[in-house]
């Protein structure tokens, strides 16, 4: 295949991928978008096979590799529970990162087959791009593995901090930049591998100090990195499809990170530097909390309240995902609807462990998406609502974010749950949320605490609704 034709077809792949993302602007067009994405990918694979000099008998190796990967990927895609989406996406990011590293190493050792020059005599522009690609790829790889382990519960979700952490990271950052510099002057194998090792190390180090509830930012950020890594390799290989895709994915991840940071009213830097919830300022609020009285109720009380309400807003959070309570919740809502109660769902941007996490879980439980609202669209409705049903959310409902300038979460946009006539708050215990901040909502007169597992409590309420 001529180089011009293949370039045009790679450009078409890029266009198809743009259409794939464009399709996600509404659920109706999204499946068409995914189809465009698949077509684009097939096109890219076919074109690259046709444009390499290939011995026909060797094609079998490729088919074997593709089939092994395809089968593994297919099984994962069908078996994975929707609650595990965050760790799945983190795991997939690590694969993109590793693939980028492998391709870059391969290009370093056989630059002739990529048209980049000869071994240790690679074109200057290509070696810079290769250095950047391999470094970002390696950071994505180890960073995503740590994110995966934290989300999967294979390591503690709490931030791991040690003295001098930031200095070490800064030092490694400088080392990486200077190694790329050295690589341009002297393309030695040692420097190339040192660059990879330093990048792997920093990927690990920048994710360990970040806590569980900041994972939406981390996953979005790694999503962005995987895009930039692909773009770096795209520049090295002079491939338009990779450059366009890398740019799309990179900016997509960056936008999602921005949305998540805004949802927490924290700067990106603040999240990345980590260690949130470990500062001493949160301790003074805890002391006063113990003496305050709390009204607690049972499933019967909750069922009675909701049955006699005319409108209910449900506020789901990560706890709903942990308890796998989405199906029970849907059942409860169906019963309420039969009693002519108007039900809607309010989703905070950072509810859950990744962007849109709650929406997918509700979709899985067959909740119609036109009953699910974002923070800005529903926040004014709480004042006219009888009951708010808070299931597995905590910090995102804390009124202290609006009233207490000393609170660590002050300024964070929150759902105005307290404006409802009554609030039902499901929680396993009185322990404060992730941010380590006490929620004054617990002590309000119109709040009824339901101390139980989210799924069990919801199921009990369903029984009492009959």
């Amino acid at each position: 295949m001529s180089a011009n034709l293949s370039s045009l077809l790679f450009l078409m792949t890029g266009v198809l991928f743009i259409l794939a993302l464009r399709g996600l602007s509404s659920p109706e067009t999204s499946r068409m978008g995914n189809f465009f994405g698949i077509v684009g990918m097939i096109l890219a694979i076919v074109v690259s096979i046709l444009s390499v000099n290939i011995f026909f008998s060797n094609l079998i190796y490729f088919i074997i590799a593709l089939s092994i990967g395809g089968i593994i990927g297919g099984i994962i895609a069908f078996k994975i529970p929707m609650t595990a989406m965050p760790q799945l996406v983190a795991g997939f990011h690590s694969l993109v990162g590793l693939a980028a590293v492998l391709v870059a190493v391969s290009a370093y050792y056989s630059p002739d087959s990529f048209g980049l020059g000869t071994f240790q005599n690679i074109k200057t522009a290509s070696i810079i791009e290769m250095g950047l690609g391999v470094s970002i790829g390696a950071i994505t790889f180890t960073g995503s593995i740590i994110a995966f382990m934290k989300l999967q519960g294979l390591m503690s979700g709490s931030p791991i901090v040690f003295p001098g952490q930031h200095y070490l990271n800064a030092l490694l950052g400088i080392l990486i930049i200077s190694l790329i510099g050295y690589l341009i002057i002297n393309q030695s194998t040692q420097i190339f591998w040192m660059l990879i090792i330093a990048s792997l190390l920093i990927g690990f180090l920048i994710i360990i100090p970040i806590g569980g509830a900041d994972m939406p930012v981390v996953i979005s950020m790694l999503n962005s990195y995987s895009g930039w890594a692909a773009a770096g390799i795209g520049f090295t290989l002079e491939n338009t499809a990779l450059i366009i895709t890398g740019a799309l994915v990179g900016s997509s991840g960056a936008i999602l990170s921005y949305i998540m940071c805004k949802g927490m009213n924290r700067s990106f830097l603040n999240v990345i530097l980590g260690g949130f919830g470990t500062d001493s300022s949160s301790n003074n609020t805890k002391e006063t909390s113990e003496q305050k009285p709390v009204k607690s109720g049972n499933a019967e009380d909750a069922a009675f309240l909701m049955k006699n309400a005319s409108s209910v807003i449900i506020v789901p959070g990560y706890g709903m995902a942990v308890a796998q309570a989405q199906h029970a919740l849907r059942e409860m809502v169906d019963k309420l609807k039969k009693n002519d109660v108007k039900v809607s769902y309010a989703i905070h941007p950072v509810a859950g462990r990744m962007p849109g996490h709650m929406n997918v879980l509700l979709a899985e439980a067959n909740v119609p998406y036109d009953e699910v609202f974002e923070l800005d669209d529903i926040n004014n409705d709480f004042a006219n609502t009888d009951v708010a049903y808070v299931i597995g959310a905590n910090d995102v409902t804390n009124p202290a974010a609006k009233t207490d300038p000393k609170s660590p979460i002050f300024g964070m946009p929150v759902l105005d749950v307290e404006k409802c006539k009554s609030v039902l708050f499901i929680k396993r215990s009185m322990s404060p949320g992730y941010a380590g901040v006490d929620n004054e909502l617990f002590y309000r007169d119109n709040t009824l605490m339901l101390f139980a597992d989210a799924k069990k409590m919801t199921e009990d309420i369903v029984k009492h609704l009959d």
Binding site: F17, L21, R22, L24, S26, E28, S30, R31, G33, N34, G40, M41, A44, V52, I54, F55, N58, Y61, F62, A65, L66, S67, G69, I71, I72, G73, G74, F78, L88, F92, V96, A99, A100, V103, S106, A107, S113, F114, A125, I219, N223, A230, F235, A241, I243, T245, A247, G250, S251, S252, I255, L256, I347, P355, H357, N359, V360, E364, N366, E374
Partner: protein, 103 residues
């Protein structure tokens, strides 16, 4: 003086960032999880690099270090491509079912 082809690629890159920026802002927040899984799937287009690596001067009997890395990269990218697109499809299917029930 002739323009370096790098400048053309850089132009494509910069313009694509802007396209990505506007397209992604128009994505509805309820589809942010499928957005992540589909961007993940398309970033596996890195498989084109893996394919070149796999077949670079490969002639049956002598498989080089680069070739082996290439094949591993093809496998990893394939996991991502199939896994990413299929799981996205599965999620989007859920958004469809409700639509029907609603009518």
């Amino acid at each position: 003086m002739e323009i370096d082809p790098f400048i053309f690629r850089l132009s494509i890159f910069i313009l694509s960032i802007f396209i990505g920026y506007f397209v992604v802002w128009s994505v509805t927040p309820s589809l942010h999880t499928p957005l992540m899984s589909v961007t993940n799937a398309i970033s596996s287009v890195i498989i084109v690099g893996a394919i070149i690596a796999s077949f670079s001067s490969l002639n049956g009997s002598n498989i080089s270090f680069s070739n082996i890395l290439g094949f591993i990269a093809v496998t990893l990218a394939a996991i991502n491509i199939f896994g990413g697109f299929l799981v996205t499809q599965r999620m989007l299917q859920m958004y469809k079912k409700k639509k029907k029930e609603n009518k």
